[in-house]
């Protein structure tokens, strides 16, 4: 069962990104191969500081997380539509 977290992308590197979650902490994600998001789509989200919702699974040992999907929540779509 995947988990969900909201936040804004602090930085993006290739297919990896650090999310600043709503509680203010940082969480590191790697894009899954079937995420439907390509690495080059991350920098625009970061530059726009769009609020995103990340669906993810934790890897065993909990040391990193695999992002299965990234969505821009409806309430934030206006003005950020071009991001995804």
């Amino acid at each position: 069962m995947s988990k969900i977290v909201r936040g804004r992308i602090l930085f993006a590197q290739e297919g990896r990104f650090m999310l600043r979650t709503e509680s203010g902490t940082g969480q590191l994600f790697v894009l899954s191969h079937d995420a439907g998001v390509e690495p080059q789509q991350l920098p625009p989200l970061q530059h726009a500081q769009a609020e995103v919702e990340v669906e993810f699974d934790e890897t065993p040992g909990g040391l990193s997380a695999v992002a299965r999907a990234i969505r821009v929540p409806d309430d934030d779509l206006a003005g950020k539509a071009e991001a995804v």
Binding site: S23, G24, T25, L28, G61, G62, L63, S64
Partner: protein
Amino acid sequence: MSLWELANSDCIVVMGSNMAENHPVGFRFVVQAKDRGATIIHVDPRFTRTSALADIYAPIRSGSDIAFLNGIIRYILVNNAWFRDFVLPYTNIATIIDPRFADTSEAEGLFSGWDEETKSYKQDSWQYKGELMPSPLAEHHVPTDMPFVTHAKRMSKQPHPEDRTLQHPNCVYQIMLRHFDRYTPEMVEAATGCPQATFLRVCESLVRNSGRERTGAFCYAVGWTHHSVGVQIIRAASIIQGLLGNVGRRGAGILALRGHCSIQGSTDIPTLYDMLPTYLPQPSVDQPHRTLKDFLAVETVPTGWWHNFPKYMVSLLRAWYGDAATKSNEWGYGYLPKLTGDHSQQTTTLMMADGVVKGLFVLGQNPVVGAVNTTVVQRGMAKLDWMVVRDFAMTETAEFWKAGTLVRSGEMTPSDIGTEVFYLPSAMAAEKDGTLTNTNRLVQWHDKVCEAPGDSRSDLWFMYHLGRRLKEMAAKRNDERDAALRALTWDYPVRGDEAEPDPEAVLREINGYTWPQRIQIGSYQELKDDGSTACGGWLYSGIFPSADHNQSRARIPDAPDGPQTHLGWAFAWPSNRRELYNRASADPDGKPWSERKRLVWWDEAEGKWKGDDVPDFVETKRPDFRPDWSKSPSGMDAISGTEPFIMIPDGKLSLFVPSGLPDGPLPAHYEPVESPVRNPFYAQQDNPGLKRWPHPGNEYHEVGDPRFPHILTTFRLTELHCGGIATRAMPHTAELQPELFVEIPRELAETLDVSTRDWVVLSTLRGEIEARAMVTDRLRPFAVNGHRVFQIGIPWVFGWEGYARGDSANVLLSMSGDPSTSMHTTKAATCNLRKGRTAPAASA
């Protein structure tokens, strides 16, 4: 000395330290010294990442440092290899000691003056003949039968008794010959396990790299201080450096490698229970400290720089009590809390376990992992009414009540533990403004670069608002006991939504200003004892010399061909001096010992001391100045132009320390509180001043107890920082050392049929832990006194929180205290080792 100054050393001894692993950035200067041809020596029970970069590795069993160092002292003396031109004028080698003095060599390992009833020394027979020298340490008053103040005043009456021919049987030189005589290379090998040939190579390297043209340095850390003889180990190194002329000079000195979380700053503006900020003595009910007048009478040293003490004390009181400090109430002296005994961490822990201490603040510390005898620590915490833990990640200390040793063993359940634990998240270094004081007294300002998440707050915020609320409560209550709280100045401005106090306001106060105008002062020389100045920490004066000048922000390095003291980079106390006692870098006439090692010198034309560093001397004092004893000179008037050690009452480096060290004026080898072997040197087994605290759960075994035959030492790892949690909770560092392991010599592993990664159990009288074995040739058996002992090493930084986990090594260690500092022993203990795992916990 500064870290970067190590690059100018010709010989560096790293001992009681694993510098490459625990101060890797500072170690770059050791490698730079190597690039310039220096000899690097590592003396250690384990072959570590530091040893790998050394030219000479000298193995010693843990707990035998003094035997090794005293061996070096003897070598220097019997080979006449000491730097005579430096030692004769600048040290007390020629000073004559009281005729009643008896050395350990004469009395089975005790010095004269031992009082069996109080289990302490009276220091009368250690004094200079006919005088009493106050201690240069924070507490200047020492226990003597003779009246302290009247006898101390004799320091001002006449030159100190000495024999420059060094023939007098009770001059320091002759006493040292007798004292160090038994530390022969053979005895060094027998006591430490270090082969004589290697030991002698170390001696030769040190001696070869001393004198006018060459200097050497020692670097040490908790490998020396975490012993029952910690202070005396450092003393032994001071004697070596004093004899070789390696003090106050380029590339010379003893560098105490302090911790990274501004531990130097936290002892300066202190968290030391027995001192006031910047190493002033704290009043005590056991001393003649009832009034400020009494206090100043016994604690003001008649001669040397500490004679200025009243100015620093009164200015501190003015800073703390502001207008509530008046001449008639002795500047608020009565508001100061007084010591009633040893309030150090271990005794406080035992008082918690005995139900005396009811509440505890734990700020940025993780005692459940980092404090010895963690089981007793947790029993103590379980007895508290409340505990506040501030940290930036969940620590074992905060969770002791639900996942700690007591709960896991079934001794208690969480519902048995009545302690109310508050966990308050704290901001990290980059999330707040402020200074960090590094290991060479360099205070550097750092700006906040990002916001701390959520409710996290800085320690300054916490302390300020806690104090503010307590003051508000005190104002309403009108209780006599709250008078000190009501009197306390607490008017730091706050900024922003979170009402964060302005740290620059605090730093301005630490620097000091005039009262009541609050004009910043430029140096501690402007401080007065008449209430017209306020100063939070005299040693830091000059860090904020005018309203807008925060010197700790400055970042101007020297040019590539410059003096390499970088006086334009931040602020080093005192007065931005980089090398303490640097007058010693010049000969008695004020000329540098050599061009190669020049640092400061006397300029006859300008009539002052000048050089590449801020001179540590009265600027205009001529080298040929001699005190006029007919005038009973006090303070700096009693210090001649050839006495560089101005904080010592006689201006000389103390090879022999007459006052202030409870375990003796000279270092002697004593065994750790638990040892598998008898003391090879004396009948006296362990440090006579050792603080023992027998308590349920804190028992000690007898010498050579066959149940615990191996010698155990604990250590840190580069990859895991401080109390562990910061890096264990962080994936990138946790994965580098993911699990507890214990380093075992191959020979021991073979007898136990243990291979690397097998589970093993270590046990002591305090408890048991399990770890994975790491069989290695880097640890070895030692031949001690003809007896084979195995040296084992285990990292102590693991706990159950975070990604990198393991048992806490401090389950194994006992509580005991060094007589001067009450410091615990973590570096030399005993244990047993067997293959297997610890029994599963009883069901809770």
